[in-house]
Symmetry: C2
Subunit: 323 residues, 2 copies
DNA sequence: GTCAATCATGAATTCATTTCATCCGTGGGG
DNA sequence: CCCCACGGATGAAATGAATTCATGATTGAC
């Protein structure tokens, strides 16, 4: 509803000229010829029906009216400049915003990030994690899909758990989804015996509910199926909406969790967490890098993605170690 | 020196769209098609390398980043709008700014202005008077010329004393310059006799110095010449840089002034000032209406000019009366 | 289920902006 | 004191940015 403004090009030409009190300098600043400025100012004067400059011999002087509105004009453009700067700073060449789901961020990305920072100290990496993706949504629903798309639009690079199908986005698989039971060595030593998968019936099962969200079946069901056994109470035991919580529980010796070993490679290497069985079950879902087409073009994004994929490759080549 | 802004058209399209959360409405506001808005926003996103909107089914949502810079953007455009409004209000269709030299304003224009206001109550007439024209400048100098031109650029209509030669301006002669001696009736009654021009030698001469400025000779010299007499001390007596001051002195009975009777038609009609001699000397200078080409096009200017000229015509037809 | 509403998209078009070439007048250096 | 280089004005031509048009896709609403 704002009253219509005169062409902004003309306004800007006027502002610059008034600031320099010189069309030539204004032209210089705006990277056009002096003729363009002269035309623009005459056009503006025409539009407003007001003289803005007194034409002197080889110089110009501001009209009173022009003088009086100049501060407002300058402030206006200054505000616009700030607004644009605000955006540009967020996307400055050396600023990289990475989004990751909470578990991946805290258990995989953050432990490795310091190495990237050492490698590229000039890049300002900002990690943003949020859980809107993980609020209870029907598996593979539009809602989940859209929240990923939306998030990917907000950051340069998004690392999330999903099915890898995000049309219009640039996608790389970061880690394939493998699951295997994990528990603390203390539990293994002091608890009921745990030699064969069937021994699991005597243990507390900790549930990482991502499986329910993305696969329609729990991780435990999948793994036990693959192991060829049936568990009488496969859904019993504590449930966690985030992998990281289930993992913490396992670390505390509260039970056995079926989840992605890649998320605990540090613990596996240190022995604070162990995988009692060799069987790893690959599932169709996985961790993916998602990047919107705009961000994908940025060079820092390319650098970081390459580094991430390399890290993941090493992870896969030497599972259970953080190299 | 301000960092370069993205094309302002795109910024404005974004601002409007963000405000309405609708491209269609924004398009409506800006009098373009929705397609134009869509293009502009995509272009801006391209430029900044940032998504500004999440595209939903039939609606759009602001990106966090867009959200955060929107207030600044709005303020910026609001400032610009105010700046332009400031100018436009000064030149609103019903606002008329008239400039006049101090003497003409106070002794001729103002006494008549109320009639115009009664005639056109819808017009907001603003009178601006200033004396930069009357600072001591060589007669007919560039400085004087330029100050008139400059003033004429600041107002809609300028009524000044001068030679009527202002190239590029629209000119009308308001009043021809006639001079005649004037004094208070008291002085005429109680002072030395004043029947013939030669009697003037016994009186104090009050000098309106405009004559020196514009004609190179004082008004008294011109009049005495035309009267065919020589005055031994034609430059003696008080000098005034403004007619109005010399006239006030004459009203106070301090002496006799040679000046424009049109400036004192009210006093002449009332008898508070009298012209002892019938001889009126016409000089080449006069009062002119000057109007810059931009202002000259405005209809209120035309109305006011016509009225002024009519007033002046009546003045001339019935000298010594304010009708 | 169908319709209407909203946004996307690409080619064509319009027209705003800029440049080019030239002119003008003078202020200041030689 | 003279002249020329500088800053601005100007009009036609060229450029290219902004807009429209025509069409498609998708879905929310009735």
């Amino acid at each position: 509803m704002p009253a219509s403004l005169p062409p902004l090009t003309a306004l800007r030409a006027f502002e610059a000229t008034a600031r320099h009190l010189s069309m030539k300098k204004a032209a210089n600043e705006l990277n056009v010829t002096a003729a363009a400025i002269s035309h623009q100012i005459q056009f503006l004067e025409e539009q407003l029906g007001v003289r803005l400059f007194h034409r002197r011999n080889r110089r110009i002087e501001l009209t009173e009216l022009a003088q009086s509105c100049l501060p407002m004009l300058r402030d206006g453009f200054e505000q616009l400049r700030q607004a644009v700067d605000h955006i540009r700073n967020q996307r400055a060449a050396d600023v990289l915003t990475v989004g990751a789901s909470p578990s991946l961020a805290s258990r995989w990305l953050m432990p490795r990030l310091h190495r990237f920072v050492l490698l590229h100290p000039e890049i300002d990496v900002r990690v943003s994690t949020q859980m809107r993706q993980f609020t209870r949504l029907p598996s593979g629903s539009r809602g989940d899909f859209e929240s990923v798309i939306q998030w990917a639009d907000e950051v340069d690079l998004l690392a999330v758990f999903g099915n890898g199908h995000y049309p219009g986005m640039q996608i790389d698989q970061l880690l394939p989804l493998e699951i295997t039971p994990l528990c603390s060595p203390a539990l293994l030593a002091a608890g009921p015996r745990l030699k064969k998968p069937t021994d699991l019936t005597a243990h507390t099962l900790l549930h990482d509910d991502r499986g329910m969200l993305y696969e329609g079946r729990s991780f435990w069901e999948r793994w036990l199926d693959a192991a060829g056994i049936r568990h009488p109470a496969v859904a019993s035991g504590p449930h966690f909406t985030h992998s990281v919580l289930a993992i913490e529980a396992a670390l505390a010796g509260l039970g056995i969790v079926a989840t992605t070993p890649a998320l605990v490679s540090g613990e596996l290497a240190r022995g604070t967490l162990v995988a009692p069985f060799a069987l790893r079950v690959a599932l169709p879902s996985g961790y993916f890098l998602v990047s919107n087409p705009l961000a994908a073009r940025r060079s820092v994004v390319g650098v970081f993605r390459a580094w991430l994929l390399d890290e993941a490759r090493q992870e896969h080549a030497a599972p259970g170690s953080i190299a």
